[in-house]
């Protein structure tokens, strides 16, 4: 307990940065993922190729490697410079966007085929049948798995600790300078993560129950 209370500043700063990484990356990943997901079901073949290529490539790249590229490679390219935190957000967003895209696509696949056929039969266009008929229904099916994606994202923010971002995973390194026992610090960090994940899972369960439809 002393370890936590004496170093509350470091813990608070660390988890504040973790939540920042999480929220920004969630926002960008949701945006990019929706675009990529839409590209993957689009009637235009090259768009499908690009979407599929992106998802397959990035999904099979370890996140650590992606961060490695951004943290160590990007600064060497003489492009507008960013801090390590921004670079970590970029890597997290690019990585998570593939999972968002796949979740959305799987969600669209759960809508019964008759819905799409019926909306086409009454003359709706692709955009109309998507936005009025399919997506509102897919949305319900997508919420629980999407929350799982965000839980994974929250846990993945710790990887940034290996690349000079002073978030929750970095608290141990900070406190080892103050001579705190590593195991106690790490167990506290783990406990807070368990609590954060529990909160997200609770939200997930509430939404799941509220949005459930009997088919």
């Amino acid at each position: 307990m002393d370890t936590l209370l004496n170093n509350l500043d470091v813990f608070v700063d660390g988890f504040a940065l973790t939540l920042q990484l999480f929220l920004w990356a969630a926002l960008f990943a949701l945006t990019l993922g929706t675009i990529v997901g839409a590209m993957r079901v689009s009637p235009i073949a090259p768009m499908r190729w690009v979407g599929t290529g992106y998802v397959n490539l990035v999904r099979n790249t370890p996140l650590t490697l992606l961060m490695f590229f951004f943290a160590f490679g990007y600064p060497k390219l003489d492009l507008p410079s960013f801090g390590y935190t921004q670079l970590a957000i970029m890597a997290l967003s690019l990585y998570t966007a593939t999972y968002v895209a796949e979740t959305l696509r799987a969600g669209i696949n759960t809508v019964p085929i008759g819905q799409a056929e019926a909306s086409r039969a009454i003359g709706l266009t692709f955009g109309q049948s998507m936005s009025y008929v399919l997506l509102p229904q897919a949305f319900r099916a997508v919420i629980p798995p999407m929350m799982s994606v965000f839980i994974a994202l929250l846990k993945n923010t710790t990887v940034a600790a290996g690349f000079s971002v002073a978030e929750a995973g970095y608290i141990r390194a900070n406190l080892s300078e103050r001579g705190e026992p590593a195991i106690v610090v790490l167990l506290w960090v783990a406990l807070f993560f368990v609590l954060l994940v529990a909160v997200l899972s609770y939200v997930q369960r509430v939404l799941e129950n509220r949005l459930k439809v009997a088919r």
């Binding site: 993957r40 370890p62 160590f72 979740t103 994606v149 846990k155 195991i183």
Partner: protein, 303 residues
């Protein structure tokens, strides 16, 4: 190409699609060209930066690092399958005193970030007098605890997806609980979940890269080491390109294997309702589509 989402495009729509398609390709080509241009402009393809990687000694070192990655992956994969089965047995037990602790164990290790788990092993335990924790041990235990817990849930989902009649029939002919599980439920569940299990192994392979942060000397660690050799013009991007190629090739290989199993098992899968097929792939026979694919995939997010 048959697709339920839009009509077969007419001549004008076809022209428009072609136009947008070309535009998309040009845009992507433009982005890629820009990246390659930045690489060239900053000398990433210069001979000086790549000279280091022509030495046979460096080749040998990369090969050793690849072996280290594969060693951690192989051991962690086997151990997490074993742990997953053990946890499954605890999870489906009718006794509360086995059932509840197992449930808590699974939920706990699924909630702790894998990297924190590895750090607890690597930084936390040695000061307490535990001496056998090398980076390798930390990486393998971390991967095993996390993926074992995930796999236990995957196995359980597989068992729950089976028709109830399977277990009932087995009990009716006088089988004991262990026999029902071992001879009836598990073989079918493993078969149904094979694609998901292999996808989870891809996650194990990807997550070995986390070992880099707890100083396990695998591919990424080597890339950082070579990338900071000032005598060879700090070739961090060339090193990353080489390592990335190896990693992505390995993962694609394993993911391809998962896809292969999925296509094979689909032929014998249980009946399912009609589902919309959006890929532009030929529509799959609706009776053979797999209803569990969505739920199962969402459960196997990688760390």
């Amino acid at each position: 190409m048959s697709n339920v989402l839009f009509d077969a495009p007419g001549p004008r729509a076809l022209l428009r699609h072609k136009f947008i398609g070309v535009f998309t390709l040009l845009l992507v080509a433009g982005i890629l060209t820009f990246i390659v241009y930045r690489f060239i402009e900053t000398g990433q393809f210069s001979a000086a930066k790549w000279e280091l990687f022509t030495f046979p000694l460096v080749h040998a070192a990369i090969f050793d690092a690849l072996l280290a990655t594969l060693k951690a992956f192989g051991l962690a994969a086997i151990l997490s399958l074993v742990l997953g089965l053990i946890l499954l047995v605890g999870r489906v037990s009718k006794h509360k005193w086995i059932n509840v602790p197992t449930y808590l164990f699974i939920e706990l290790f699924r909630a702790i970030p894998l990297l924190i788990l590895m750090m607890i092993m690597y930084y936390g335990l040695p000061p307490l007098g535990v001496t056998f924790v090398t980076p390798f041990v930390a990486v393998v235990t971390g991967l095993t605890l996390y993926n074992g817990s995930v796999l236990a849930e995957v196995f359980r989902a597989g068992i729950e997806s089976l028709p109830k009649g399977q277990a009932e029939a087995a009990y009716a002919i006088g089988m004991r609980k262990t026999q029902v599980m071992r001879m009836i439920l598990l073989p079918q569940a493993l078969r149904a979940m094979a694609p998901v299990i292999v996808s989870q192994l891809v996650v194990v392979l990807k997550d070995t890269a986390l070992g880099f942060i707890v100083t396990y000397q695998e591919l990424l660690f080597l890339a950082k080491f070579y990338g900071s050799q000032a005598r060879y013009d700090s070739p961090i991007i060339p090193a990353a390109i080489i390592v990335a190629t190896i990693y992505i090739a390995l993962c694609l290989l394993l993911a391809g294997f998962a896809k292969f199993i999925e296509v094979r098992t689909k032929r014998i899968g249980p009946r399912a309702g009609k589902r919309i097929k959006l890929d532009g792939e030929p529509p799959v026979d609706p009776y053979l589509a797999d209803p569990r694919a969505l739920g199962a995939q969402s459960r196997t997010q990688g760390a």
